[in-house]
């Protein structure tokens, strides 16, 4: 049984025969096989992930080729607990709780001793705003503003990214396109495209630069659930919030490069130390 790879390599070799036999894709040039050689490719137990390279020029899906991706990034262990930790961190590190209760000294009144210490036959009290009293101060209540900043360890965050990318790819929610050039700047084009290709209602497009082609920017501007993002903004929360993740080929490669750099850097010892602010 011929595997997909054999078919594609045969296509490359016998391209003339292909153009004769398959008139439907006469205009299409030979498929682009994007394959990289990695330093540790002899030590792969898992096979590199093969993803279709698609187009976005037409509403209809055209396969332009194959992209082979590194398994350590796109086939990593799907650690749901690490994904949850990352999501929680993203939510909490900038969260400020503004809930506030008054302490007995802050509650209005309560400076005078309500009745003398002895002789009344009543319980002894020194202030009407003590926590025992109705209307009195709260003892260990929330004090505004309370920050919940903390830093998740560096490699937990890297693992979060690899886990989420692997989960997206495994669940068929990751697509790779050649570039973000679309023919029209109408939002309807993008909506039609998403509908036709059965991409989830919410889509996240990721490219390397933060300045994207004008058409896609204008088209997705009014649609709230379709968003554009540069690679440096990629995060676990956004990837899970959007149903489908669409990467351009160069974005997929840049993500791969960056994550592999962090997984194989010689000075990782510094990154594994406890996070401190004002650390030089």
């Amino acid at each position: 049984m011929l595997t997909l790879r054999n078919i594609v390599t045969k296509l490359q070799i016998h391209s003339k025969q292909v153009t004769y036999c398959t008139k439907a894709i006469v205009e299409q040039t030979s498929p682009t096989i994007s394959k990289r050689s990695y330093e540790d490719e002899n030590y792969f137990y898992q096979r590199p992930r093969e993803v279709w390279l698609e187009n976005i020029d037409t509403v209809e899906r055209k396969k332009l080729g194959l992209v082979f991706l590194h398994p350590d990034v796109y086939a990593a262990s799907p650690r749901i607990d690490i994904i949850q930790e990352n999501v929680r961190w993203q939510r909490m590190y900038r969260f400020v709780c503004y809930a506030h209760t008054k302490v007995r000294s802050e509650v209005r009144g309560g400076g005078r001793k309500p009745w003398p210490q002895k002789g009344q036959g009543r319980a002894r009290h020194s202030s009407i705003r003590s926590p025992l009293w109705r209307g009195g101060g709260v003892v260990h209540g929330p004090r505004s503003p309370t920050t919940h900043f903390y830093m998740l360890p560096f490699y937990t965050r890297v693992a979060g990214l690899t886990s989420t990318l692997s989960v997206k790819l495994a669940q068929d929610d990751l697509y790779i396109i050649s570039d973000l050039e679309i023919p029209s700047n109408e939002p309807s084009y993008v909506e039609e495209l998403i509908e036709k290709r059965h991409w989830g209602p919410s889509v996240l497009f990721v490219d390397t630069d933060d300045i994207m082609p004008i058409n896609i920017t204008e088209a997705t501007d009014t649609i709230k659930h379709v968003n554009l993002m540069p690679v440096y903004g990629l995060n676990v929360y956004s990837m899970l919030k959007h149903d489908t993740l669409v990467l351009t080929e160069r974005a997929a490669r840049l993500i791969e490069d960056k994550i592999l750099y962090h997984l194989h850097r010689p000075d990782s010892h510094k990154l594994m130390s406890k996070f401190k602010l004002n650390q030089q």
Partner: protein, 294 residues
């Protein structure tokens, strides 16, 4: 052959499971332990404050007070345990076994001189200047298996270590780096981005000056003739034939030494390195040149 295992099995399982989203993820059981208030028999009741007295009434006596007698903290007028501790240096160890491992796994290049900068740049050895660390102490663990021929510069080395290195045809020097230079060495990439000229090394302080001036410990301030004499002495003591450096094709590399004021090989103090322009800025003024080379 078994089917999919481990990661691949998990990823293929996910294909049949619902889409992983923000509303169906959770952490491992036991990861979040909510803090519990003390209630009842355990943690509650008197909340660890005991019965009556200043403890329960939160009106404690001052710290160290011993109800009237001469307290411990006032009994002794002089406790010089840490006197001068800020001047005492520590040398985090690096064993010969580790050094051999670095060379075998290609982390250190024995064809170039090895010094503190190259050891730190492997990323496998670290020191903290704030803990008064002053460099590498080459220990004798793995002295029997050491077979590398290197030109190495450390901060502290004992006799068997020196013997082991020289037996294999290498050279060893002990050199001193002051605190400012150590800060530079810790992160050289960062130092070059600051635009500060390369500092000149200061001479060792009086407590270790003798160490760095004696030939027995191969100090960098010692007389080279005395050193070659000591090499012979060690070879006779430890019973090996002293390999002649002159015959060695790597002679130039093995005899390469830094000037006592020099921090990096090939770069003089006073120079400013610009990484962005890939250029070196050198001062022209005479007084500066004199200062940096003095």
């Amino acid at each position: 052959m078994a089917g999919k295992q481990g990661k691949d099995l998990a990823l293929s399982m996910l294909r049949t499971l619902p889409r992983v989203a923000l509303n169906n993820i959770r952490n491992n059981p036991g990861a979040n332990k909510p803090s519990k208030r003390g209630r009842g028999q355990h943690g509650g009741d008197k909340h660890g404050a005991g019965n009556k007295g200043s403890g329960q009434r939160q009106n404690f006596m001052r710290t160290g007070y011993e109800t009237g007698n001469n307290p411990f903290y006032l009994r002794f007028s002089y406790e010089p345990y840490y006197k001068g501790h800020h001047l005492r240096r520590e040398y985090p160890p690096l064993s010969l076994q580790q050094l051999q491992m670095f060379i075998d796994t290609n982390r250190l290049d024995p064809s170039k001189p090895i010094d503190l900068v190259s050891i730190v740049n492997t990323g496998l050895y670290d020191f903290k200047v704030e803990w008064k660390h002053a460099g590498v102490h080459l220990t004798d663990e793995g002295v029997d298996n050491f077979e590398a021929k290197v030109n190495i510069e450390v901060q502290w080395a004992s006799e068997p270590v020196i013997a082991a290195i020289e037996k294999n045809g290498g050279t060893i020097t002990t050199a001193y780096y002051d605190i400012h230079c150590l800060h530079v060495i810790k992160d050289v990439d960062r130092f070059f981005t600051t635009g500060v000229p390369i500092p000149r090394r200061l001479l060792p302080p009086s407590d270790c000056l003798e160490y760095y001036m004696s030939a027995e410990t191969r100090g960098y301030l010692a007389n080279p003739e005395e050193i070659s004499c000591e090499r012979l002495v060690l070879s006779q003591k430890y019973g090996y034939e002293l390999p002649k450096i002159e015959d060695n094709p790597n002679n130039e590399m093995l005899t390469q030494r830094k000037d006592p004021r020099q921090l990096f090989y090939g770069l003089e103090p006073g120079w400013v390195v610009s990484l962005k322009d890939k250029a070196i800025l050198k001062p022209k003024a005479d007084y500066l040149k004199e200062f940096y080379s003095s």
